[in-house]
Symmetry: C2
Subunit: 132 residues, 2 copies
């Protein structure tokens, strides 16, 4: 499908039935995947399984609480698999499910495209003001 | 590149230099593209140029103010072209730039994937609670 026909198909689907009801679940999922920490977790897990402590070291600046919450959301969406091995000390590992791996390819494509095209996306006073 | 190597390349880029400085501009762009109205505007414009009033009718529920703000952000990012024809009454048309069309393909791929896979993304009490 061309981008225009993909877009038209999406709009047609939004138009059938209750737009709000149809849009809400996907909106929630989109926010989970494109939130600051959601994106970083998906990108990091796309390189392979990680333990909680490894993820925390890898994703600079994330708090224990935010990382736990992000992983819980992505696990609830079916994107992340949490595996606890019954050993001492406890060993908990996080990895992408097959569904999560599919989602990750699209998140990766979008974020890699933005990263790779930043020089083409010209800075403007408006954008500079939005950055801390 | 495989998803794992794409992810690793992204992480390597984030690791060079100041992570915050490197991540911030792309973070802002990602938020513009994946915000509720940003996504809907990109998807709608992917079907072709629209006038402001057409966009407002097309994107149910958006206020005049939010639509104007969303279009300004996407225009500042270089994704949307605003063309005003000097006629009476004034004719202002919005379309995707070539850069915007590229960005739109990735936004479309991600949102279409989520829409198409909602039945596989099982509802959980947590997610149901997050929906209004």
């Amino acid at each position: 499908m061309t981008p225009a026909s993909t877009a038209q198909a999406l709009i047609d689907r939004w138009d059938t039935g209750d737009v709000l009801a149809a849009a809400c679940p996907s909106r929630t999922i989109l926010q989970h995947l494109t939130s600051k920490w959601g994106t970083l977790v998906m990108v990091t897990l796309a390189t392979g399984p990680h333990r909680f402590s490894q993820l925390r070291r890898r994703i600079t600046g994330v708090s224990e609480r935010m990382l736990a919450q992000t992983l819980q959301q992505l696990e609830a969406d079916g994107f992340v698999l949490r595996e606890a091995r019954d050993v001492v000390p406890p060993h908990v590992s996080y990895s992408l499910t097959p569904l999560g791996a599919e989602a990750a390819t699209h998140v990766l494509a979008l974020t890699a495209w933005i990263e790779g095209n930043l020089p083409r996306i010209l800075p403007t006073p408006q954008k500079q003001a939005a950055q801390p």
